[in-house]
Each structure stands twice: as structure tokens, then as C-alpha cells.
Symmetry: C2
């Protein structure tokens, strides 16, 4: 067993505090690694505050994890000591259903095993996440991080990055396509970078006009201030794809009206209330609303390789562990450009 | 000008009454034909009663029209006198936008020209629909009817038929796919026949258990009584595609939960209220909700040829013109198996 230091919420809504625990001994297929950086995802906050249903405590959040391999099990061939490694939103799955067989572990029919806020698969051991200084993972559920990327800025790719990369690939972002990104936050800023790198024309739809320059720097061709309630009138049937990263409750109808024939609005955020969608808006142009959730292991690796090739990382603010609770408050207030990342040396 | 006898609503909500009017003289590209049968679509009733916004009166409804060609213009090559001909929901479009260029006239960016309840394109002449004994149409907006099919039972294919055929083709109905049809009425019964003929496994989701035998006869493998509120628990992640023909206000959530990964629920009916859709249900399996509206001219012809090959027609009850108002009442009450068709000799 490996002594590990991290930060945990000991009860729903409690401040995160220093917490020591043990990681399992390395199995034959396991990789042990020293965590270097761990991203803060808004979903960490929802779960630590038990806003998404009953949660499991003590909770060590964190599912945007990067580090350097320090030990490998007897049967590990994918990694060597010294390799840069990443772990995302899940640490295991059934490995045999039709979705796992296709590399879509995020849609495992038995349910993926989350990186925290649950138990390790077929075990009564609580799974502790990335807000810590050491990790053990089956090699099949970890990915390699290209050597040219800044490791701190890579961490958010493991959740925020793949959450945008996957729908862009699935719905065919490419030259000639017009793509809108709703909201320029931790998720949205990755969508802009990826869609632009894939060659699409990118429009940011945001109510924060102060972010206009950032949007352009990240690759957006257009920035639309949605505080102007008539914004959509100039974009009727204009977009092939809209990625909705906004988790606030909003009226989707104006956005749907800007979809071209056969266009799709992909929902990524999880608002508190259901959306209201009128059939007529969908019928008029064979439009779709779809959902998308992170990505599978093969796609996670594909994304990191794509990032290596295109030199894409997240815009981050690196903090120490004792700033986590303040970072939570600022994340809820959208006061971060664009993602907090914890320096794991500070645990 | 050609004297024509039909039935019209003279004002919103008024009973339909005998009505005489004139069709235009044949242009070079026009076909004139004697109408044999005209189907009654629920949308005729919505429009005659002005339930879908302001309507235009006098209104001769009808957009499921079949007949036999009696005259052709100088430049007509597609039809000869004596040919069986069909006309559906639109009689013209801009003919040059990106959708018209792809044969998707139903999504014409300038708006298709409806068969009734509007004006002929670029004209102040009211467009009168199929509840009449004669019709004039540009050859490019009419289709050929295979000789082996019963003409009365063909009429509903021009709207109800294509409305189901098009999404089944677009979303890939084929052997190995599991498809559910919500509602077994004028629309739904065509969906069952087409999906079965395309080789898919068809399940009917209906609250009318009395229709179970009909569903089987039409090709359904399964019939589910949705009056059992727990029906969906046995079908979680079971269907690749669901076609929703129900225009009543219903909760889609139980239906969405029965979609497999990457499955789509296609909305065809137009309920009065918007749907309520939770993001989580879409995210969990990359599910979609889409809309679909009739089909373009090339697909309309493809469907009729498919019907000729597979000997598919609508189940109809043929009526005389003086029964139209009663037929409307019975249609609203879902008391028809499965579509009323007016014998045009009775106008």
C-alpha cells in the first residue's frame, strides 16, 4: 500500500482539507505515477457539494490528472518509468460490452467506474481522485502525454478537452463547416481551439463581451454578444454545429433557429432544469439536439496526439492546494481564465 | 382556365361545402390531371380550423393527391396522357437554393410553396388543394405512381407515407436495427410497413391495445401497451431509432431512455406544447432528438417505386365528398383505420 497525501471533502459541502490515505499495491497490469498537476472541474464542485444526488465521503475529487510514471506492474507494456501519463474521468469499465468493445468506455452498458465519488470496480475500496500526489491505474485506462506540451496546461484536456474534442470529431468539424460555441469558459475555450485547429469557422456565442479578444486569440472568427437579445436574427440557418457548454438554464430556441438543415446542437453542460424544445423548430430543417459525454480511451489518446501536433493546451491558472476552496468559489463565479490546476507538489 | 369542382372551408372552422373554382391554363411545363382520390390528413383539419396560425380562405384542403394525366404542356417529357400521377405537400419551391439543388425542396431556404393555404409561387392566385376533381402542376413537382398499386390506397403515401419513409431512410433503417414506432395511426401504420420492408425489427408503442393484431399484420414484431406506465423498464437502451408520430403532449423521457448509444428519437407530429428534455438523458449514450418533415421530390419518387416493389399501400377507408365533415370528426377522435380517402368522382 502506498501512502498518499491529498485534499478531501469529509462531508457534503464542507471545505476541502488535507487528507491522507493509501493507494493499492501495484497489480500486474497497473501503473503507479507521481501526480504533477490536477485540474479543477466544475463537476468536482457539484459532487463535493452533493448537488448531483447522493455522494460518497470522504471524497478526494479530481479527474484531470497528469504525472510521471514511477513504477509499473509485471505485465505493463504501454508505459515505462519516466513516461508522462494522464488519467481522466474514469478508471475502469466492464471491458466487454458492445460499447467498451468499440472503445466507448464512457458509455459502458454496465456503467463506467468514475475516478472518484464511487468505489473501485468490483471492490469496496473508495476510489480517490486526482487532488493528491500519487496514483495507481490499470494501464488500459491511462493515456500518454506528448513531450512537447506544458504538463500543467495539459491536465484540463483530460476532461474539459475531451468533452469538446469528441463531439467535434463525431459531428465532423472540418474546413467548410461553421461551428458555434456557446459560452467561453473552461469547456468552451477548448472547443474554440479544437474547432479552429480542425479547420472549421468558429463563432463564439457569449454574454461576456470582455472575452472577445481571448476568443479571437484562441482561433474564433466571430464573437457574438448574446446580451443583445436579437443576436440570432443575423444567423438564421447559419451553423452546421453548435456546442452548448452553458450549464445555466437557458432558452435553446434562438440557438436552434441558427442551425442549418441537418444541423445539430450538442448539449454538454448539465443544467438544473430540462430544456424546452418545440417540435416545429426541429422539423424545420431536420435539426437535432444531441448529448455528448467525455470520450473513450482511444479518443482520449487521439486528442492528446492531436494536441501535440497542433500545440494545443488549456489556458490555466496554477494554484497550490491550500487555495482549492477559494478556487471553487471563483469557478462558481466564472472568475477563472480558463481553468484552475493544482500543483501536486503542494499536497 | 379549367372549371374545377371541389370542397372548401369558406372560413376558419366552418364545415366544408361544395365549391367551384378555376385551375390555371396549362403552361409549357405543366401537367393537367383528373384527380381520382385525395387523402384526408390531420393537418388539413388543423389548417381549416386555423389551429396553426392565420390561414387563407376559401381553403380547398388536400395534399395527398392521385389521378390520371389528361393533358400535358409543350415541354412536358416526364408524363404522357394516361399516366398515373401523384402530388404531395408542395407544388413549387425556389428551385435554386442549396437544399432545392440537393432535392430537399421540403427544406427550401425561401420556403416551399404549399399545395393549399397559400398562394401559388410568385402569384396572387390562391393555391387550391386536392379536395377537387382536377389539378394542374409543374411536371417537376409531380411523381409517377406504379401501375400495380391500388390508386385509392396510394393517396396517403404522398404525405403520411413520405413523412415516415424519409426519416427511416435518413437514419438508416435496415436489417439488424431495432426501430420503435410511437402511435399506430395514419402516420404510424406507414412507419411499421416501411421499417419492416426495410428489414428492421419493428416495435409498436401504443396505448390502443386493440390495434395489436393490426400491428402484427403490418409487420411489427412487438407491440407494447404504453398504458402500462412501467413499459419502458423492459426496453432500456433497446432501440436504435424511435419515430414519434404522436401529436399529443407527452413526456418523452421514458421513450428516450429506451434509445441505445447513438440512437435518435425523430419527432414527426406537432404537439401544441414544447417538449421537456433533460440534458442528462441525452448525454447518457450520445442520444439525439431530431425533427423530420415529409421528403423532397426525388425521395417521393423513390418511395413510390419502393412501394411498387414491395406492394405497400396505406390502409384506407374510401368516402364520398359529402362525408368529409364527419370524416374530420372521426379523424380527430382517432376513429379511422387508418386514413380517409375521398373518391374524387363525388365532387
Amino acid at each position: 500500500m502506498m501512502k498518499t497525501k491529498g485534499y478531501a471533502a469529509l462531508a457534503a459541502g464542507a471545505d476541502l482539507v488535507p487528507f491522507e490515505f493509501e493507494r493499492r499495491n501495484l497489480g500486474a497490469n497497473d501503473v503507479g505515477f507521481e501526480i504533477q498537476f490536477s485540474g479543477i472541474c466544475h463537476s468536482d464542485i457539484h459532487q463535493a457539494r452533493e448537488e448531483w444526488g447522493t455522494a460518497l465521503f470522504p471524497m478526494v475529487p479530481g479527474h484531470e490528472i497528469v504525472g510521471v510514471v514511477t513504477a509499473i506492474g509485471d505485465k505493463v507494456s504501454k508505459f515505462a518509468v519516466g513516461d508522462r501519463i494522464g488519467v481522466g474521468v474514469f478508471i475502469d469499465s466492464c471491458r466487454k460490452c458492445e460499447n467498451c468493445s468499440r472503445g466507448l468506455q464512457q458509455y459502458c452498458l454496465e456503467g463506467m467506474t468514475g475516478t472518484y465519488n464511487g468505489y473501485e470496480r468490483n471492490s469496496d475500496q473508495i476510489a480517490f481522485g486526482g487532488y493528491s500526489n500519487f496514483f495507481v491505474i490499470d494501464q488500459d485506462f491511462a493515456v500518454k502525454v506528448p513531450s512537447n506540451l506544458d504538463l500543467a496546461a495539459v491536465a484540463p484536456l483530460l476532461c474539459a478537452g475531451i468533452t469538446l474534442y469528441s463531439p467535434l470529431r463525431h459531428w465532423g468539424a472540418q474546413p467548410g463547416k461553421k461551428i458555434a460555441v456557446m459560452g467561453l469558459g473552461g469547456l468552451g475555450h477548448m472547443g474554440v481551439k479544437f474547432a479552429a485547429a480542425m479547420g472549421a469557422e468558429v463563432t463564439v456565442l457569449s454574454h461576456s463581451k470582455a472575452k472577445q479578444e481571448d476568443a479571437k486569440r484562441m482561433g474564433a472568427s466571430n464573437f457574438v454578444d448574446t446580451k443583445n437579445l436579437d443576436w440570432h436574427k443575423g444567423f438564421q440557418k447559419g451553423f452546421d454545429l453548435i456546442l452548448n457548454t452553458v450549464s445555466a438554464d437557458i432558452d435553446l430556441e434562438p440557438y436552434l433557429s441558427t442551425l442549418r438543415t441537418d444541423g445539430t446542437l450538442v448539449v454538454i453542460g448539465l443544467p438544473g432544469k430540462p430544456y424546452s424544445v418545440s417540435a416545429g423548430t426541429l422539423l424545420n430543417g431536420r435539426r437535432s439536439i444531441a448529448g455528448s459525454m467525455i470520450g473513450g480511451i482511444p479518443e482520449l489518446q487521439e486528442m492528446l496526439d492531436f494536441c501535440g501536433t497542433h500545440n494545443i493546451v488549456s489556458d490555466v491558472e496554477v494554484i497550490k492546494a491550500d487555495y482549492i476552496n477559494q478556487a471553487y468559489e471563483r469557478t462558481v463565479a466564472s472568475d477563472v481564465r480558463y481553468r484552475f490546476v493544482i500543483d501536486a507538489k503542494s499536497f
